[in-house]
Symmetry: C2
Subunit: 468 residues, 2 copies
């Protein structure tokens, strides 16, 4: 292997082939610090051509490749296994914004660009790049595309997939596919783009992309509504979509217990209501006309929701600070749950119309098998995506409870499956859910996936052990 | 083969296996009546299971399968070749709407449903199914998905691809893949859905789909603006997107010559301006609030466009009849061009920002090589999609001019390629553009496409001779 490493050094420069264990550490450990793998080296090419050269070299030597962007994934998709036979291919030096076209409303960006860097470049050009998620200061667009990232603006703008018009990819054989087309319409053959998007680096390496950008909204307003049950939240969603159309850009559900945890662990935060309610909805409107118009729209919606008794109470943020405070409540839920102690997370989706029933049925099943467990249920209701998390009972050993993790996952994911849902709505499969998903996919689907993997990566060198 | 035909009859019923040449005629001839192929039989299954059984039988006997929906395609994608070895698999009896979910905003429909039937079923449920195109009274949703159909609402709602959440597919081996998921977020493996969409039946047969539906707009308004050049139309597009956001649902460009042809051949139609202008833009706004609000928005936009001298003149339709009259001008262009005589059509796209330059440069090249040819240039400017059609010079033999078809295609498509565009924006490749596209795709892309075809249809039985 020393010949392999030496050739790597000539391809990308010695300084960009890391083999020192102290240097490797952060590339080998996952974001949640639950797992550390091993690798031959971390290789950091600076261009598409260098990526292709490294992949060709890996092919010759049959060295597996683990592509890595910001390494912020939650399913062990971007770290190598314990075998130590693979290299980590860091895309972080491919970080140029190749171009911004404000008439075509597209940006061409390299895979290693940080999401925030792209948001800022769009803003500098007077445009909005709407992909937004918690890790945006660290994650890269290549990783966002490889995992088809979701986030908070999916309701209006779609997942990373819907935001991408074209890709540049280094194939598993080390060839460069230039599919960097900035076209809204192109029906000239198989949809290679969408095959690489969401494949988590198991079919090839995304090196650049053409992404859509949008006019910036002129006004953005937030409201918090209290509702009796998830079904009421769904009625509010229908009403909001009917009245506000595409102006509705956020619609988040949070249970009372979620916000109780937030105010318990972050006592400086307060709920804007004099009494607690069972469920809360955080709504966001983005308006292309003006803030006044957004306000009229939102006030009309809230008034009707109260009159129709869909909502029990509601507040509209009257300043940016108030709006931030409302979003803060939502964003502090995972932090508050962590403060409360160990917990078990699920990132699931079901058809939006079944969300109420899904929560009710699954809550009962969990209480029967794990009495006293506490549900921290919140999420992107407008996308049918719930973070359906489980905290241990208030009394008793947290560690003992956490040992039931597999059994709890099973109850939740079996229920998701019965509701025709997905056990990984946003986060992907990686190594963490690869085996589990087999229980829920048909043989036909698994066979089709294996056929594609075998066809496009015949030597199983691209991120092996992930997805399939 | 008589054994094969007999077994077909037992699988789908004797009445649904057509072998009589009079019965076959309409299945074998393409929509434009330019080509008639041959087939062993037309087989008309009534269910997904019957489709699967027929495909398995075809596998055993190595009989090629040409899937067919409404047979309205423009690129010879849904008719068999002249060999007479294939069957036509008509999906027209799979025409049930399996369900409408107005909370999830989805419909589950079988492949043979006529597009108009789906639009109507959505309307009956108080929803909009936005896919809309000229053949909507005849084309089927299966065909729309197999060709990733575009149409007039792509600007706001996307192509057929963007409207689809899940598919049911019979694979080339006759297995049923049930991917009928109605989820907005699902990151559990390779994107099989988008691989079958746009594959024109060459990888498998789409038998059903989950499609998105939307709240109906409360107001819809149309305007016609006169502009000096395509660049001014682009400035108007930017202004409209900035001011109206997602409310802008249509943005069509038409040159003066297009509308001259319309008023020449359909003298009852009139342009709403006292004098001619070089270019016209047809705009449509769809508003989620009210017709009054749409009107305020559109008036504001038009006023600013006139003040900024982006538009030279403009009218807003003040009644449904006036709005229809404006759309009629647009929709009569292909008819008027046909009345004028033979012509050569191109369905191309380029990055929106390059449209003006593309038209100017390509017009010059055509005039140099084919002096006097008359350009009938119109299309979905908001999507970068032009119907860049060429009519013969006013004087001289039309037939002699049409003999230059290949050379003219070459000039246009070479130019499209230089502008990083697509030689088939909406219509697909079929048999008509299959060979031509090879000149414009990289070897890497063609190889990837062939690899996928080989992997998913190893015996080359699914719509052979199409796409690849």
């Amino acid at each position: 292997m020393s010949e392999f490493i030496d050739t790597c050094r000539t391809l990308v420069g010695a300084a960009n082939v890391l083999t020192d264990s102290a240097d490797l550490e952060r590339y080998l450990t996952d974001w949640r610090r639950r797992f550390t793998g091993k690798a031959l080296a971390v290789v950091r090419p600076a261009s598409t051509e260098e990526v292709a050269a490294v992949i060709r070299l890996c092919n010759e030597h049959r060295v597996p490749v683990v592509p890595q962007g910001g390494n912020t994934g939650l399913v062990l998709g971007s770290v190598p296994d314990q075998s130590g036979t693979a290299i980590v291919l860091s895309l972080s030096r491919l970080n140029r914004i190749r171009g911004v076209d404000t008439i075509n409303n597209t940006m061409t960006v390299e895979a290693g660009c940080i999401l925030e860097q792209i948001q800022n470049a769009a803003a500098d050009a007077g445009r909005l790049f709407p992909l937004s998620l918690a890790a945006e200061g660290s994650c890269t667009i290549g990783g966002n595309l490889a995992t088809n990232a979701g986030g908070t603006a999916v309701l209006r703008y779609g997942n990373a997939r819907e935001l991408c018009l074209g890709l540049e990819v280094v194939t598993a054989e080390g060839e460069v596919w230039d599919g960097l087309r900035g076209l809204r319409k192109d029906n000239t053959g198989y949809d290679l783009r969408d095959l690489y998007i969401g494949a988590e680096g198991t079919l090839g390496v995304i090196t650049a992309a053409v992404m859509k950008i949008f006019p910036q909204p002129k006004g953005q307003l937030t409201a918090l509504a209290a509702v009796e049950a998830p079904e009421h939240a769904l009625r509010l969603l229908s009403l909001a979509q009917e009245r506000c159309g595409a102006a509705l850009t956020g619609f988040e559900l949070m249970s009372n217990f979620c916000l109780q945890l937030v105010t318990k662990h972050f006592p400086q935060m307060r709920l804007p209501f004099p009494q607690p309610y069972a469920q809360y909805v955080l709504l966001e409107l983005s308006d292309s006309e003006s803030e006044e118009h957004a306000n009229t729209l939102l006030e009309g919606l809230i008034t009707e929701a109260l009159e129709q008794e869909i909502a029990q109470d509601a507040v509209i943020a009257s300043s940016i600070a108030q709006s931030k405070a409302l979003w803060n409540l939502r964003e502090h839920i995972p932090l508050a749950q962590a403060e409360e102690g160990k917990n078990i997370k699920h990132d699931v989706s079901v058809p939006i119309s079944l969300i109420g029933e899904f929560i009710r049925v699954t809550d009962v099943q969990l209480q029967e098998q794990f009495p006293g467990c506490r549900m921290v249920t919140f999420g992107h209701l407008g996308d049918g995506n719930l973070h359906y998390n489980v905290s241990p009972p208030e009394i008793g050993s947290q560690d003992a409870f956490i040992e039931h993790q597999s059994a709890i996952n099973r109850v939740v994911h079996d229920s998701v499956h019965r509701f025709n849902g997905s056990i990984s709505a946003e986060h992907g499969l990686g190594a963490l859910k690869r085996d589990e998903v087999r229980a829920y996919k048909s043989d036909v689907e698994l066979r089709l996936m294996r056929t594609l993997k075998q066809a496009l990566d015949p030597h199983n060198l691209m991120n092996p052990g992930k997805v399939i």
